[in-house]
Each structure stands twice: as C-alpha cells, then as structure tokens.
C-alpha cells in the first residue's frame, strides 16, 4: 500500500486518482501508523513552499525518518522541492534536507512560471523514468527549481534556456519537478514505476 500524504493542500486527490486508475493500492492519509506501515510514501504538492512545510508540521520528522530508513519516497512538484535543504520562495524556509541542495528562483530573462509541457531527457540509469524512451514531454508549473549539490543524486534535466533539473533520485528517494499525475500516459508510467519499486522493496525486506 502506497500512502499519499494528506496535509491539507492542493492536488493530493489527483495523485490518488492517478494511482487508482492504473490499479495500484493507494491510501490518502496523515496518520503516523499509515506512514510507518506503507510500502512507499508520496509527498504531492500544489502550494507555496513555506505554506506546504508548515502544513506538514510534525509529519516532516516522521517522513524523514522512514525515508532515511530506506522506505521509497516520491516527492512531486513542491513535494519534490521539499526534499532539499531550503527554499527562498516568499521568505527563507527549511526543507526536509534529504537531498543536498537549495530551491531557487528560475533566473529572469524568460517567461516565468515555467508552465506547460517540456521535453525531459530520461537517463537510462534512473529507474523511476524507465520504459518511456530517451525523452518525453511532461507537464510543469513552477517558478522555483531545485539545484542539487549532492554527488549521490542522479538528475534528469529539461531545457529552459539552461539545463534545469526535472527529476532526481538519491537511493530510495525520488522526485519530479513536473506533475506525473497530470502528464498523460507517460506520467502514469512513472507512477507505475514507483509502485513497482515499492512493491519490490517491500518483498525484499
């Protein structure tokens, strides 16, 4: 069972809808025991960074703990940005600190927010992005992006006047700046991949 963290912000339901559509067991919950027992955790998000972190409240520590313990964790959009150390969206805010790096504004000189379908180059060694080909369009909607300095992290990029990180993986911690739940068939495949990773990890324990 995958648990999508219900922390009172937008689009949590869409992520659940997408998992259900592809036949995956999923539960929307904020109960600590559900997080502990889950095969994998999804941290979704349509919100400003600071608002999302404060909405997460004490759950932040628990999510960090289970992720450091090896449970697969997938962050989406702001949920992905929250995997990093800090963000400067509407003030300075600390993130979960699971991946070294900061969330910074997309540099001026282009249309911001970065909004719409952009091509992501899919590295062969990123399991989350497997089975879709070498590149594909995904749906983005954001004004900040995560810059990682973590050498253990693998990164997939999209081009927006510069190579902008679009997805990251560090061991059992995964994230996408784009919205897989809103990116049609290719996005659903990513959610399926995450579900498969969770199922496999649960069996190997």
């Amino acid at each position: 069972m995958i648990v999508v963290i219900d922390y009172n912000i937008g689009n949590v339901k869409s992520v659940c809808n997408a998992f259900r559509h592809i036949g995956c067991d999923v539960e929307l919950s904020c109960a600590p025991e559900a997080v502990e027992n889950a095969t994998g955790i999804v941290l979704p998000g349509v919100a400003a960074f600071g608002y999302a972190m404060s909405a997460l409240g004490p759950l932040a520590e628990l999510i960090k703990e289970v992720a450091l313990g090896g449970k697969p964790l997938l962050g989406i959009c702001v949920g992905y940005q929250m995997l990093f150390d800090e963000s400067c969206e509407y003030g300075e805010h600390s993130g979960l600190g699971l991946i070294e790096g900061n969330v910074v504004p997309i540099p001026a000189g282009r249309v911001i927010p970065h909004m719409g379908w952009n091509m992501v180059k899919l590295p062969a060694d990123m399991e989350l992005l497997a089975g879709i080909g070498s590149e594909k369009h995904f749906y983005f909607a954001h004004s900040y992006y995560a810059e990682t300095s973590d050498r253990r992290a693998k990164t997939a990029y999209t081009e927006y006047g510069f190579d902008m990180p679009a997805s990251v993986q560090k061991m059992n911690i995964y994230g996408t700046q784009f919205h897989p739940e809103k990116s049609g068939e290719a996005g659903l495949k990513i959610l399926q991949n995450f579900y498969d990773i969770c199922t496999r990890e649960a069996l190997s324990c």
Partner: protein, 254 residues
C-alpha cells in the same frame, strides 16, 4: 524546449457545455466530463472549465464537476467562474483542479491574487481578463467584469502588469470583440499584453482557422491558445492543430 499549448475551453452552464458569440446566443455543446475526457484523449495540453453562470447554487455543482473531471483526466485543468475567496480556491485545488482563474473578484479585491499566490504558489493563480476595445481611447482596451456585462475604466495592459506584480502566474486574455466570431484572435491586444508582462499569456477569443493559432503565437506572442467553437463543433481535431503548428516550426507536444 517548452511547447506552446492548445487549450480547449469548456464554458459550463447548468451542467452543460455551451458556446456563444460575443458572450451571447449560447448553443449546447455537450457534457463537460465527456467532452473533457475526449479532449484529453485527443491530446489537448490542458483544459479550462469556466462556470459561466457562477451563482451560489452552481458553486456546489462546479466542485462536483471538478471531482468528476479529475477522476477521468490526467492532464492539467483550470477552473474559473465566480471564485471570490481563498477558501474557494483551496476547495477547487483539493478537488483536483491544477489552477484556478479569477476575474471579477480580482478587480474588486486585488489582494486575493497576493493571498492565493503566497499560499498556493503563483503557478496556480490565473488572472482572467475580459477585454473590450475602448471607444473613448483608440488603441486601448478596457477590462470588463461580471462575465463581460460590466465595463470598467481599467486599462487592460495596466491591469495585466499589476496582476503580475500582485501574484498572478498566468493571464487568460479573452477578447470580447473577437469571441466566437471565428475571425481570428485580437493579436494587437495579445501583443500589447505579452510585451508588457513576463508571465505566460493564454490568448482567447476568435479562433476559426488553423493559421489563427499560428498568428496568435507568432504575432500575438501567446504562450498558449484557447479555443472553443472550432473544437466543440468538430471543425478541427487537436492533432490537426498541433501538426499544423509543428510543420510551421512551432514546438508542440505531439
């Protein structure tokens, strides 16, 4: 490269999709959930649902509609019409909308843009502007509110710039003069606004032929093109539109 977006718009009244000319003479165009799913299957990049009745009674209906749409469609969609408070925005986002558009309420209470951007991020706050050519000031456009029924003294370009400053992350710019005419977008309007702001602009009103889409992107500078009449009544498929643009070197998601 970021692609230009093709966005069918579903004007919803009494649970049905309707389409008129210059905001009048509405004609039935189908069931919103079914039409939405069809456009999603056809390769639309996004959908916009506008509750054009926007009464208190219809508010509950629109939340239910959003939930139904979100269960069946895995592309982003924007919902607008009669939204007045941060709480209503929250409810719609939680029901499955990706973005919300505000129009009259933003004119009446510009703070709404700022408050919602700080809470939800500016990427989900769409400022919808209904623009009409000004008779008193040639070459200018005036903002109209209440579904286009009430003209204001506000200049469209100035309002767009202010909207961006206040926290809007996108502008849905509808030309009331061109709406439903199928005679082409008002690209003078589109250009005036896209030159003045740095956020994405969706051009709306007037699409009738494929080259209108191209013109809105190239001459108008639009990041996305919205249409209703020409898709609802079967003139062109989404794929035809995208292939046409691709063949003219416009990046699209095909």
């Amino acid at each position: 490269m970021l692609t230009r977006r093709i966005i069918p718009c579903l004007d919803v009244k009494d649970n049905r999709v309707v389409k008129g000319i210059n905001f009048l003479n509405l004609r039935d165009a189908g069931d919103p959930v079914e039409l939405g799913a069809r456009y999603s299957d056809m390769g639309a990049d996004e959908l916009v649902f506008l509750d054009i009745t926007a009464t208190i009674r219809s508010r509950k209906t629109i939340v239910e509609l959003v939930e139904k749409v979100a269960e069946n469609i895995f592309i982003p969609f924007t919902v607008g019409g009669g939204i007045q408070t941060v709480e209503q925005i929250d409810e719609l986002l939680r029901s499955g909308a990706e973005k919300v558009s505000v129009n009259t309420a933003a004119v009446a209470n510009p703070e709404l843009l700022t408050e919602s951007a700080q809470r939800f991020g500016n990427q989900c706050v769409v400022l919808a502007i209904d623009a009409r050519r000004s008779e008193e000031r040639p070459g200018k456009w005036q903002v109209c509110i209440k579904a286009g029924s009430e003209p204001t003294d506000i200049d469209v370009v100035e309002w767009a710039v202010k909207g961006e400053e206040l926290g809007a992350g996108e502008i849905l710019l509808t030309s009331m003069d061109a709406d439903g005419t199928k005679a082409g977008y008002d690209n003078e309007l589109n250009k005036a606004v896209t030159d003045a702001v740095n956020i994405p602009v969706i051009a709306s009103g007037g699409a009738g032929k494929l080259d209108h889409l191209y013109d809105a992107i190239v001459d108008g500078g639009a990041d996305a093109v919205l249409m209703a009449s020409i898709t609802h009544f079967g003139n062109y498929t989404i794929r035809q539109m995208k292939e046409y643009l691709r063949d003219k070197d416009i990046p699209v998601n095909l």
